[in-house]
Amino acid sequence: MRPSKLLTLPEAIGRFVPDDSSVALGLSLESLIPFAAGHELIRQRKRHLTLIGPISDILFDQLIGAGCARRVRAAWVGNVITGSCYNLRRGVESGVLEMEDHSNLTLALGLRAGAMGVSFMPARTALGSDLFKTNIGLKVITCPFSGDRLTAVAAINPDVAFIHVQRADEFGNAHAWGNLGVTRDACLASRHIIITAEEIVAPDVIRSDPNRVITPGFRVSAVVHRPWGAHPAPVPGHYNRDHQAFIDYRGASQTLEGFDEWQRCWVDAVGSPEDYLDLLGTDRAAGLALKNHAPSAPADFGY
């Protein structure tokens, strides 16, 4: 019998994420953001983390505000529907936070190089831009075949990738659907993968549709059952985006004091998934529920 990989969130992060780790989060961009896992990093007072991800929405800003991050390797750090994020601004403008500036394509290709086990991937983007001044992982090279100028993007291999999915079995095989961003490459590029899932299901459910498996279970380190684990980001098939939470966070995080208060209320005071749901409230949760279900047609994998 294979060993189960089911852990609690505190156990998974305590075991696989020491201080100084590089962690990849927000890999589907706007959806499936592992907010619950990010908040556990804050509760465990992780320090000197390197944050890796394309856009992250407000999760990176929260980790920066809580003092968890030393370095950020990202294409965009902000609040998708309101704009600039304030902890990022305070961190960079005071010189305590180190930035490696990517575009979405260079970040995606850095992870793909990591996933493919090569040292870099070539691209045609960013040539002539100043990204080369603030990212030591970008160099101009000459194509050995065409002679074209190309951007070489150095491989990115995170210590841990965090992903939130709709369903997983206890062995780390997981189904995710919707737009997937850089999730697949980031998982393959990372040493450890920690999955939080809306549902834990029987292995046969996952095996019934192997095309939907996000990464092979043998590469996964831990599986955590965490309903609402991506809130306020949307999870296809489960809940819509909670726009008000993003608007409220903008207001709260404008000052350090406001951010501290937000962290006390929404992170530090939350000891369990039930606490979080209590805080959210049943009316608000119901308001985010799907109003129109749209299941796909089944695919026949028979022989």
Binding site: I81, S103, N104, L127, L131, D148, G178, N179, L180, H243
Partner: protein, 271 residues
């Protein structure tokens, strides 16, 4: 487009457009009209999100939308969205895939037109959305490129949508997040960019195109109630003006009705 500049707030010094539509509605309509029927559009955040929906519902029903999240759509989303990751934008998509897939289409040259926002722009259409004040003295850290650098590098042409203020329209950007025409004619080819360049800038005051010879921004239209002098006053270099400056066409009733449907709360297009 990037996600931080907010082109929806008119400046105090500007006159309000005539009653009946808002400045953001005028800008979205101008953006939508840049999309031709049948084109593949890399759809950016905020106003361009609505611009694509508007174009698809009016003059460009065969346009295809590509989104950096890894989404391709050939229909209008069935319910209003505030952002491209909202679930109605995933419903019955043509393709849900990876960011690298969407970016691969762009890098291959499959994307005709894209939209980008900017915090700072110069006369060659170079954009800064990263560091105001430059690297030696960072005054303001902005969110960064997102997909903007890729769109500016690789789309067939790109349209810039941004707020028009003197501190944003500068002789030379402090940091070049997204390349325009660089230092002028021939620059894009010299650095190795395969195609493209900015085709238009839609601001809170007017519309610019780029001179084919000099690659400089040229004022071609002003919004209702805005003068050429006012545009110059808000531009940090000696403005180049087309021989004939038109008034930006105002949104029609059908366009306004569509915009009210797509943004019923007026989150992006309210006054």
């Amino acid at each position: 487009m990037d996600r931080h500049s907010n082109p929806t707030r008119p400046q105090d010094s500007e006159k309000s457009p005539p009653i009946g539509f808002t400045l953001p509605q005028l800008m979205v309509t101008a953006a939508a009209r840049e999309i031709r029927d049948g084109e593949v559009v890399f759809v950016g955040m905020r106003l361009p999100l609505l611009g694509f929906l508007l174009a698809k519902s009016t003059h460009a029903p065969n346009a295809i939308g590509v989104y950096e999240l890894g989404i391709v759509r050939d229909t209008v989303a069935p319910a209003p969205i505030l952002t491209m990751g909202d679930l109605p934008n995933l419903y019955h998509a043509q393709w849900l895939a990876d960011t690298a897939d969407a970016m691969g289409l762009l890098q291959q040259g499959q994307v005709d037109v894209s939209f980008i926002g900017g915090a700072q722009v110069d006369r060659f259409g170079n954009l800064n959305t990263s560091y105001v004040g430059g690297l030696s003295r960072i005054a303001t850290r902005l969110p960064g490129s997102g997909g903007a650098c890729d769109l500016a590098s690789l789309a067939g042409r790109h349209i810039i949508v941004m707020s028009h203020e003197k501190r944003r329209f500068v002789p030379r950007v402090d940091y070049m997040t997204s390349p325009g025409y660089g230092e002028g004619p021939g620059w894009r080819r010299r650095v190795g960019l395969p195609r493209g360049g900015p085709a238009a800038v839609i601001t809170t005051l007017g519309v610019f195109h780029f001179d084919a010879k000099t690659c400089e921004m040229i004022l071609v239209a002003v919004h209702p109630g805005v003068t050429v002098e006012a545009v110059q006053a808000h531009t940090g270099w000696p403005l180049r003006v087309a021989p004939e400056v038109h008034q930006t066409p105002v949104p029609g009733e059908e366009e306004l009705a569509m915009l009210r449907r797509f943004d019923p709360q007026g989150y992006w297009t309210g006054s």
